[in-house]
């Protein structure tokens, strides 16, 4: 039985979760990663995707649009720019996220990065089942 680690998910506006989790699956910018107890201390940026925290009570999924995650001996803290529990994600909200992203793409200096964020977002939309 793997040990638990402290998982915190905060957005600028509120704290969404602060629980003990056995593993946390993070959509990192350079690829997905799973943090478990004893993971090497890492800081990674996030891409739009689905974040999963698996704990004794089950799996909680969140949709995140960007930000970063800090994995340390103390636990995992994810600072997401926007985070929504997966079950609260609705079609209109998804559309709004995409609209925001396309707005950002229009003004972005770095087109590649913005396009990548957009395609990640669309992939996330597919994964979330919309």
């Amino acid at each position: 039985m793997a040990g638990n680690l402290q998982f915190d998910l905060v957005s600028p506006e509120r704290r969404l979760a602060s629980v003990q989790a056995s593993e946390v699956q993070i959509p990192g910018a350079a690829g997905d990663l799973t943090a478990m107890e004893g993971h090497a201390a890492t800081i990674t940026t996030l891409r739009p995707g689905i974040l999963r925290a698996i704990s004794a009570e089950g799996t909680k999924s969140y949709v995140v649009t960007g930000g970063f995650a800090e994995i340390s001996a103390a636990g995992v803290s994810v600072l997401a720019e926007r985070a929504v529990p997966l079950e609260e994600l609705t079609g209109p909200l998804m559309d709004q996220l995409i609209a925001d992203a396309s707005e950002a793409t229009a003004v972005a200096v770095d087109k590649d990065v913005a396009d990548k964020a957009m395609s990640d977002l669309l992939a996330m939309k597919a994964a979330a089942g919309f």
């Binding site: 600028p12 506006e13 910018a29 890492t42 800081i43 940026t45 970063f68 340390s72 600072l79 720019e81």
Partner: protein
């Protein structure tokens, strides 16, 4: 000596004023609670962000490849002052104290031969600064329609500030806001956000960085600007309600005092009129 009728009207009008200020105070108290909750809810994010930025900055800051947002663009000629005030008045010295600080800073910078640009957030600050600094205004952010300040508001301000920095139109960016300490104390605060300054950075925590330290820093710096602006907006929101609450509390109390004073005056005049009438009757009767 005003007539009895005039006094009565006066008392009536002060009573109405008291009702209004009392209502405003209660509204401010309710809003203050919400604003405080929002400020508290936003704190964990800002703190973590700051901690990570501080450790990143300590690692990368010294090197030559440090991002411009952190190291500056090598000049400090053009200063952009972001002055955050309220959209409404009747909140005591809240707006004036921010404007006073901003004005002092602007004067100081001009004396040093720097160029000052001002971006105002909130109508009141713009009105107060218009007389002396209208030529320094670059743009204005109107939050009148915003009921609840969201991160998106901060992001749009941050975008504007960052665009100005990228375009070389500003070298140093400072924000002005009121830090909320308590209902009766708000501290006008000046905070430099570009080039970024982080406190207490130490490179002792060894992290793996994915992608690279520099890439993360470049990604996070604009976010950190938005976060700092967001924190300032929230603090300002709480301060505004706190200031309004105490200002309205004072106004209510003053109105109460005034009513007491006027009532005494009213009673005395009435008594004087009665006494006068009595004397007239008595002296009339005596004269017979």
């Amino acid at each position: 000596m005003p007539s009895l009728k005039a006094l009565k009207n006066r008392i009536g009008s002060v009573k109405n004023t008291r009702k209004i200020t009392k209502a405003m105070q209660m509204v401010a108290a309710a809003k203050l609670r919400r604003a405080q909750e929002a400020a508290v809810a936003g704190r964990p994010y800002a703190e973590r962000m700051n901690a990570v930025m501080a450790s990143l900055a300590a690692g990368v800051g010294a090197s030559e490849s440090a991002p411009k947002l952190l190291a500056g663009n090598g000049r400090d000629q053009v200063h952009l002052l972001v002055v955050m005030t309220a959209e409404r008045g009747l909140c005591g010295g809240f707006n004036s104290s921010i404007v006073k600080l901003a004005r002092a800073r602007a004067t100081e910078l001009t004396a040093q031969g720097k160029t000052v640009k001002i971006l105002t957030v909130g109508k009141k600050g713009r009105e107060q600064l218009k007389r002396d600094w209208a030529q320094a205004f670059t743009s204005h952010v109107d939050l009148t329609e915003v009921k609840r300040i969201g991160y998106a508001n901060a992001q749009s301000i941050a975008r504007e500030v960052l665009a100005a920095f990228e375009a070389g139109e500003a070298d140093v960016v400072t924000i002005f806001y009121n830090r909320f300490q308590s209902v009766i104390a708000q501290i006008p605060t000046m905070q430099q956000i570009i080039p970024a300054k982080f406190e207490g950075g130490s490179a002792e925590a060894l992290y793996d960085y994915e992608p690279s330290e520099e890439a993360i820093l470049a990604d996070l710096l604009p976010r950190s600007v938005a976060t700092q602006i967001f924190t300032a907006l929230l603090e300002n929101g709480a301060s505004e309600q706190g200031a309004r609450m105490s200002a309205m509390d004072n106004a209510t109390r003053n109105a109460g005092d005034m009513i007491n004073k006027l009532t005494i005056q009213y009673n005395r005049s009435r008594q004087a009129a009665i006494t006068k009438e009595l004397i007239e009757i008595i002296s009339g009767a005596e004269a017979l």
